[in-house]
């Protein structure tokens, strides 16, 4: 379809169907049934088979006309993309529409206290019963779990197979007695994550994704989607358009809840965007040593941007290499955050000690300085990214493993 044709069709749809007085869910149901909620998805599943360029035309029209789009903030995007790629026809029919309409919020239940970087070492149990799976164990670092309706869960369904082969991937209902969610406070004072305790929680048999024992392959797909988000530095949703009407009011409420865990996320990226202004306001920009460090930061941020543009142009033309590109981008984001925090510290001098009302940018700089350690851990540590780059891009030999053989025989934490 030509870009003008897409624009015309979408404009006609919006003229006929959109009204600010609709409820948020009602409006998004219309979007979903017309295929405009996720236009790059397949025709068969609520989309229009659009290319990235075509989908971009759609989001531009949405932005120009200040029309509310599908729900997409937070882990729900990871769930949706994974179900789309690996779910059954029934799972797609059942879960995808309500993700798009925002009726269902999702969370990710992957990490455990005993398995962080070694995600495949998960020891949450999934025991198959006559008509359901019984889940027992503990998960951690679960963003938005406290208001999630469903979770994407990795658990061990077989203890006699080697670790990667004994995992299965489930869609779990969070609103059940066996699921307990507790907030987890971080070093920067925020509590964006939770711990989730699973005690005889149940998963229906047909909520298994990708087949029993296929959990690692499916989880890897989810992680790849997540890393792309890190590389682009986009975890947060845009603020709601400030317009009057029910649909906008409901969207503002939704975004307030969905964005809450992410308010400090720009700070963990080092806030390179504030450097020039800070350097000018403080006069530090006249200092040659500061200028050198600022220039190094600009080199990194600009090269990361250019590199990401090149990767996406390459992918649009049918090229490959998505996952390693994600790892390089994520590693780059860590380097950028550290250099930005370094320059902020040079600029602030002794004032960098302050975090109260007198601190720079009402505490934003202080929060930056104590939030950047997160960027090189969350979503796979820098060290894990380097392993991925070395092994999958450069083809270097894998480290010798100590964890082959049946999972039950492998040494684990707390044993």
């Amino acid at each position: 379809m030509s870009h003008d044709g897409i624009k015309a069709a979408l404009e006609a749809f919006l003229d006929a169907e959109f009204s600010p007085d609709l409820s948020l869910v009602e409006w998004r149901k219309r979007l979903v049934s017309a295929g405009w909620a996720a236009p790059s998805w397949p025709d068969a599943y609520f989309g229009r088979d659009f290319s990235q360029a075509e989908a971009l035309v759609v989001s531009q029209v949405f932005a120009e006309r200040r029309v509310v789009g599908a729900a997409q903030v937070g882990p729900r995007r990871l769930a949706a993309e994974t179900i789309l790629a690996h779910g059954t026809h029934e799972q797609k029919q059942r879960y995808l529409p309500k993700i798009l309409t925002g009726e269902h919020a999702w969370c990710q239940l992957f990490s455990e206290p005993g398995s962080g970087s070694d995600l495949a070492g998960a020891s949450t149990r999934a025991d198959r019963k006559a008509d359901h799976w019984l889940i027992n164990g503990q998960k951690v670092w679960n963003t938005s779990a406290h208001h999630a309706d469903f979770g994407i869960l990795v658990a061990r369904s077989n203890w006699d197979l080697p670790k990667h082969q004994g995992l299965s991937y489930f869609l779990i209902d969070m609103r059940q007695p066996g699921v307990e969610v507790r907030p987890l406070k971080q070093m920067n004072g925020h509590a964006s994550f939770n711990e989730v305790f699973l005690t005889d929680a149940r998963v229906a048999l047909d909520d298994l994704v990708g087949g029993e024992g296929q959990g690692w392959a499916v989880a890897t797909a989810t992680l790849s989607i997540e890393r792309q988000g890190f590389a682009r530095g986009r975890s947060q949703g845009a603020p709601a358009p400030a317009s009057a009407g029910r649909v906008y009011e409901e969207l503002a409420r939704e975004l307030e809840i969905d964005n809450e865990p992410y308010t400090w996320y720009p700070q963990r990226e080092g806030r390179p965007d504030l450097i020039l202004q800070r350097a000018q306001e403080t006069g530090a920009i006249e200092d040659d040593a500061v200028r050198q460090e600022m220039a190094k930061l600009v080199c990194l941020t600009e090269a990361a941007r250019i590199s990401a543009d090149q990767v996406s142009a390459h992918q649009k033309s049918g090229g490959q290499g998505m996952l390693p590109a994600g790892s390089i981008g994520k590693l780059g984001a860590s380097v950028i955050a550290r250099q930005a925090a370094h320059v902020h510290t040079m600029i602030s001098g002794a004032s960098a000690m302050l975090s109260g009302p007198e601190s720079a940018f009402e505490g934003v700089i202080a929060e930056t300085l104590i939030s950047v350690p997160a960027i090189s851990i969350a979503g796979g540590t820098d060290e894990i990214q380097r392993n991925i780059i070395a092994e999958r891009v450069l083809g270097m030999p894998k480290e010798q493993r100590m964890d082959t053989g049946p999972f039950r025989d492998i040494p684990r934490n707390g044993q």
């Binding site: 220039a295 543009d309 090149q310 392993n387 070395a390 270097m396």
Partner: protein
């Protein structure tokens, strides 16, 4: 503006790659490094006459092929990969761009075609290779065009047939042409760390140059940008080759009963090197696209030169370190690239000077996009 190479450009890259892969082996490089002129006339005539590479970036009206910094970058990258020994950078790039940017119409019409087809090997005599603002301190022209002074580092100074010389005048800088063997010009070979690129001192004593153009601060900056980006491409090529070969080495070298490439200490170092290379490569390619798209001054050429230089040098250090003792021997090829990296790092301004320039431009424009 372009984001990635076009299909035609990728095709061109393959052709150029094959040529230098065949004609610039490390055996050939080592042999040429031991000679005085440092190049093989046969390979030079093939690359200039048969392939027409010397005219790639020069305007068609002056005998060039009318392509730009992107295509030149492709050539430079492949030359850097193989450490091509020859006067391409000195003649086609430095002298070629100097004529294109500084010379008057008649001089361009007369002289550029000879540069473009490689029939004349010229070089640019610049008395400072660190910063454009310092050019013209050592060489001066009197009103009759007599040139006096000295340039300590002239690329391929011993083998060039013609010098183009930037000299200080009563007000500003002028461009002069002088036959290399003209009276009053004395050329003496300088020893360089990098034996694969020959340099010489050129000393002028009332040498009778022909004035062929004017050099303004703006045109000198632009010249500096164009040549810096070409050099950055060379460095990216060298760094890519070093990473490829270093990674291969770690896969085949066994210690403690396993390939050393399976140790995380080495894998992580290589992963960091790759990230640096990808960023420097992206910056360098982008700088080429920017130069091709407009004459406007941006931070990108200096950014490319600074990043490519730091990347190449770090890569060269690591390439030796990861090989251990063998990497420090004369017999192993790694030092050839290490030495090129060191010389490229400082040629046309060390990284800190380019970062300083980035900040100057950034403050003037306040616009990174």
């Amino acid at each position: 503006m372009q984001t990635v190479l076009s299909d035609d450009q990728v095709q061109f890259k393959h052709v150029v790659h094959r040529f230098f892969d065949t004609h610039s082996t490390t055996t050939a490089v080592r042999a040429l490094a031991e000679t005085e002129t440092g190049f093989d006339p046969l390979v030079w005539s093939q690359l200039s006459e048969t392939l027409g590479l010397t005219g790639t970036h020069l305007p068609e009206q002056y005998g060039g092929h009318g392509f730009g910094p992107v295509e030149l970058g492709i050539i430079q990258e492949e030359m850097g990969r193989t450490l091509y020994c020859g006067p391409f950078f000195s003649s086609a790039v430095m002298a070629g761009y100097a004529l294109e940017r500084f010379a008057d119409e008649a001089a361009k019409t007369e002289r550029l075609p000879q540069i473009a087809d490689g029939s004349i090997r010229a070089t640019l005599v610049l008395d400072d290779l660190n910063h454009p603002s310092q050019v013209g301190r050592l060489i001066a022209a009197d009103q009759a065009g007599a040139l006096t002074g000295s340039a300590p580092i002239v690329l391929d100074g011993c083998s060039a047939e013609v010098f183009f010389i930037v000299a200080r005048e009563d007000s500003g800088l002028g461009l002069y042409a002088l036959a290399a063997k003209a009276p009053g010009a004395e050329v003496s070979a300088q020893d360089s760390i990098d034996m694969t690129r020959k340099v010489a001192r050129v000393t002028l004593q009332e040498a009778a140059g022909t004035r062929i153009g004017s050099v303004t601060p703006q045109s000198l900056n632009r010249f500096w940008d164009l040549t810096s980006v070409a050099l950055a491409h060379e460095m990216i090529g060298g760094a890519s080759r070093l990473l490829d070969e270093t990674v291969e080495y770690t896969k085949g070298r066994y210690q403690f009963g396993r390939p050393i490439g399976s140790f995380q200490a080495l894998k992580h170092r290589c992963a960091d090197l790759l990230m640096n290379l990808e960023f420097a490569k992206a910056a360098t390619q982008h700088a080429g696209f920017c130069l091709a798209a407009s004459d406007q001054e941006t931070i990108y050429p200096s950014m490319a030169k600074a990043m490519a230089a730091d990347c190449f040098m770090e890569m060269a250090r690591a390439a030796i370190q990861l090989r251990g003792g063998i990497g420090f021997t004369w017999e192993n090829d790694t030092h050839l690239w290490f030495k090129r990296a060191k010389c490229d790092e400082v040629l046309l301004g060390a990284p800190y000077r380019h970062r300083a320039r980035m900040m100057d431009i950034l403050q003037e424009t306040q616009d990174v996009a």
